[in-house]
Symmetry: C2
Subunit: 182 residues, 2 copies
């Protein structure tokens, strides 16, 4: 795939915020012409499908400022510097839902928007939940919502769940459980 | 859900690029404290699962600069101003694959990364393909890859397909075809 590759000539930092870092790269295209690529830099994230013994999934409701809506999602959070994705997943599950889990399995890794952002998402399924003492960060307001996995899958159909990582997580979790039965 | 809502106090444009626009909002949190939200503004996008009569899917390979990899994805593109998502999908299918389609159905809509970006993605399934005269934009280098839908689903399992919209599109398309049979 070498013939599709773009080579970076130079790189300029254009924004360095609390959350978002942005750079502008000058690249050489496969045909030798040059072009500009704007890249949102993201530390990566971990997300969790937490399942109770009765095959209920613990979702959270939260306000998402960019879309100006309350969004129903699986628990998730950004990786701290050099953080192991599984450690991040354990921390976020506890902080956002008050649950911890004894049993963890990787579900899938993917890129959220590879056209303009380097965010890589690590998805896990968490089982054998128990109540821990986690609580959200001070500026984070989240509400748990516990529903059967089947109902959560139905919420994708009805458009009540519209968040990409949650859609992928729930569909993968359903398949993961099916495969285990085989 | 009013009690989870954040109210915007002020808004500042911090970057206005060719592709990415970024603003910084000052918001009031549910507890009355104030905080800052950085938002990547995106015009929205459309993506297509194009299926041949033999249930092959037309994928594309392209270099994704942010992740520095060749990515295998379904065809997709950004909406032009006020563009209807279906019109965008038709245009992008033709530009990126050289195919047009006589039969279109909506698959799902979702938010790619609602934590920091307002991008809404509109997904379609396109059938009854025929060869059109589309070709990619000058600075876009894409290569088509035609594989059976079952093989594409397997490429999600193996990690060969790691792009969120493509994962959602392929999983939804498989389900859509199954439902039609019922």
């Amino acid at each position: 795939m070498e013939h599709l590759k773009e080579k970076t000539l130079e790189s300029e930092r254009v924004f360095d915020g609390n959350f978002i870092r942005l750079r502008k790269d000058r690249v050489v295209l496969p045909n030798g012409a040059t072009s500009t690529r704007e890249v949102v830099e993201h530390p990566g994230a971990a997300a969790i499908v937490p399942l109770t013994p009765r095959k209920e999934v613990v979702l959270i409701r939260q306000w998402r400022h960019p879309i100006k809506e309350v969004s129903i999602e699986i628990p998730a959070g950004k990786l701290s510097e050099d953080e192991d994705p599984l450690e991040c997943a354990k921390r976020e599950l506890s902080e956002e839902t008050g649950f911890s889990a004894r049993r963890w399995d990787p579900l899938i890794q993917f890129y959220a928007s590879p056209g303009f952002c380097d965010e890589e998402m690590h998805l896990f399924i968490a089982r054998d939940l128990y109540v821990s003492d986690g609580r959200p960060d001070e500026d984070e307001f989240v509400e748990p919502l516990v529903v059967p996995l089947e109902a959560a899958l139905e919420m994708i159909e009805t458009g009540e769940i519209m968040d990409a990582k949650s859609i992928i997580g729930l569909l993968r979790a359903a398949r993961f459980l099916e495969m285990e039965k085989v």
